[in-house]
């Protein structure tokens, strides 16, 4: 039999039993849709986290006070248990390192910002002029923090886009005085709107000189020191050099943790990649179930159509012809199911993206290809047995069932 005829014959046979055809196509499409949507979720989570970390800045090395590494028991910790705080001078000393381009100390707290009778809570970040370029922020209006002695904070502030909108409305903000906590500060700049950035909404941020922030919050410690390495290649050097320098400054005690953006990124990437894979595996089980359903449906079809198979044999169909016709039917069921499932899955992912715009729920290509080919493979694999059974039927016995 010609290929086109085989396909048409299989199509007509499948169309002859609409309910069972629809059910097996549905099962297969749910399986594929599950793979597409679940991997879209998993990979979306990975992209989201990676994107958040990337938006922190480029070639970033971050110093945290306290030791959180898992280096095992350190005898030095046993003697002096209180870790030294990070100070502005610590941060300033890092600027001398050869692998470092920029350094920004960061002190953080919450306070109130008020102007013209309007008052609201805001997160205050104390830092230096370098903070904005390190974090890849951009100014919409005004000028950056003055490049001055880090221990001498002028009474100025840069505010986020949303704060500007809420406090000043349509009035110009730059040059105005605002009250932040118990200080009166002059607004010298406004940030471009950026949105969420790792738990810190930059649109609601107030950036002030670091020593001013420390005075406001009555502390002399830093929350973080952000370091930008000279290049991607310089990141490991920047990490070891800054760790070494801080250890010296802290009397030989390694009481800080230095993390690189790359390391964090790679960890999350791997972790969430594995998660996606695991989810895809679970979804693949539903594909196998769908495959078994297709087999069941085809086995029923062989029984239902025994008489027809006998007739085809009487009319001169060879065993190969019958086998091919049944295989083509199984392939068609799973193929259409897979295609439908793919569309359903993409639709689901699209709906997810509409519902959660920040969440990039795109199914990865490998998952789509693997899902579709698994569907086709299981459909064919499970189609082989019914097809062989049909081909093996004795024509005379099959005819008697007509």
């Amino acid at each position: 039999m010609r290929l086109a005829d085989t396909l048409r014959f299989a199509r007509d046979a499948a169309a002859g039993y609409p309910v069972r055809t629809a059910l097996s196509v549905l099962a297969m499409s749910i399986g594929v849709a599950a793979v597409v949507i679940l991997t879209a979720l998993g990979d979306g989570a990975r992209r989201y986290v990676v994107g958040q970390f990337s938006s922190l800045g480029t070639n970033l090395v971050i110093v945290l006070p306290g030791r959180s590494g898992t280096g095992g028991f350190n005898p030095a910790n046993a003697i002096t248990s209180t870790p030294r705080d990070l100070t502005i001078d610590d941060a300033a000393s890092l600027r001398r390192l050869p692998s470092v381009r920029r350094v920004a100390p960061l002190a953080v707290g919450t306070s109130e910002i008020a102007h013209g009778g309007k008052l609201r809570e805001a997160m205050v970040a104390g830092s230096t002029a370098e903070f904005i370029p390190i974090r890849n922020f951009e100014l919409a209006q005004g000028s950056p923090l003055p490049d001055e002695d880090w221990n001498r904070g002028s009474s100025v502030a840069i505010i986020g886009a949303k704060l500007r909108q809420e406090i000043f409305g349509t009035e110009p903000a730059v040059g105005q005085l605002v009250r932040v906590g118990d200080r009166r500060l002059r607004v010298i700049g406004v940030l471009k709107p950026l949105g969420q950035g790792l738990g810190m909404n930059t649109d609601e941020l107030v950036i002030v000189p670091v020593s001013l922030a420390q005075a406001m919050f009555n502390s002399n410690t830093l929350f973080r020191i952000l370091i930008e390495a000279n290049s991607r290649e310089a990141i490991p050097a920047a990490r070891t050099q800054s760790l070494e320098l801080l250890k010296q400054r802290h009397r030989g005690e390694e009481d800080v943790t230095v993390i690189t953006q790359d390391a964090v990124l790679a960890t999350f990437d791997k972790l969430l990649g594995a998660l996606t894979l695991a989810v895809a595996g679970i979804a693949a089980i539903s594909l196998a179930v769908a495959g078994i359903l297709v087999m069941n449906v085809m086995l029923v079809a062989v029984t239902q159509r025994t008489g027809e198979i006998g007739l085809l044999k009487a009319l001169g169909a060879s065993a190969d012809t019958i086998r091919l016709a049944f295989l083509a039917e199984a392939a068609m069921l799973s193929g259409i199911g897979a295609l439908l499932g793919y569309l359903l899955g993409q639709l689901g992912a699209f709906a997810l993206r509409q519902a959660f715009p920040v969440f990039p729920a795109y199914p990865p290509d490998w998952a789509v290809i693997a899902g579709l080919s698994t569907a086709l493979a299981t459909g064919l694999l499970f189609g082989v047995m019914p097809a062989r059974q049909a081909a093996r039927l004795e024509p005379v016995l099959a005819l008697m069932k007509h």
């Binding site: 005829d5 002859g16 027809e308 007739l311 009487a314 009319l315 001169g316």
Partner: protein
């Protein structure tokens, strides 16, 4: 040369613990172009004989030569080819594929044989005209009368231009009048040179054939070709 030569054909079935000899040492020759009626009571082996002649079943012993060629030793694939090219079947209950139209049912053997669509179309059109089915080409079997269905079945049986047509009670499901029509159709084919073998219970139909075979207990009880007188 004889079209069909059967010698020492045995066919046994196992029914529970007992073995039934459906065909018991059958010898038979049928010449090309003959019109043969096979008669006999139920269980006499006439359907088994028809199945063997149609290569739908294999004998346990004996040889079957079709057109001088031993077909019992052929592989299933080769037998399928012989069925496709040399043998046409007409069944009592028509055996049309319900989801296919009359034209598609007629074209089915050609489709299975891999004949090009253009030629199929032409031959189906010719067959529809020959069998008076022009206006029924696109009807499904359930939209056809019994006589029309059997005409479609006969058109299907002849579309590959076989040497042999095997008809199993071709009028069994039809009333007298349409039954006669169908018989005339088959006889017209026979007069064009096709060998026709009809299995029937109906003595009137059997009497029309050129040669009558009566079977009983798996043997030939009577063969008009060798009968005295």
């Amino acid at each position: 040369m004889a079209l069909i030569e059967l010698s020492g054909i045995e066919r046994r079935f196992l029914l529970g613990d007992t073995t039934v000899n459906a065909l018991n040492g059958l010898d038979l020759q049928i010449d090309a172009g003959q019109y043969v009626a096979v008669m006999g009571p139920s269980g006499s082996g006439k359907s088994t004989l028809l199945n063997l002649l149609g290569l739908l079943d294999r004998p346990n012993a004996g040889s079957y030569r079709l057109e001088g060629r031993d077909v019992t030793t052929l592989s299933p694939e080769e037998q399928a080819t012989v069925r496709s090219r040399r043998i046409g079947f007409v069944f009592q209950s028509f055996h049309l594929v319900p989801r296919l139209t009359a034209a598609e049912n007629i074209a089915l053997p050609m489709m299975l044989a891999g004949i090009a669509p253009a030629e199929r179309k032409q031959r189906v059109a010719q067959a529809l005209t020959d069998f008076g089915l022009d206006k029924r080409a696109d009807h499904k079997p359930d939209q056809l009368s019994g006589g029309q269905r059997q005409r479609v079945a006969i058109a299907r049986a002849t579309i590959m231009q076989p040497a042999l047509i095997l008809a199993d009670e071709p009028t069994g499901n039809l009333d007298r009048h349409t039954g006669d029509e169908v018989v005339h159709l088959l006889e017209a084919l026979n007069s064009q040179g096709v060998t026709l073998i009809v299995v029937t219970h109906d003595p009137a139909l059997g009497a029309r054939a050129g040669r009558q075979l009566v079977m009983e207990d798996g043997r030939l009880k009577h063969d008009s070709a060798h009968a005295p007188g």
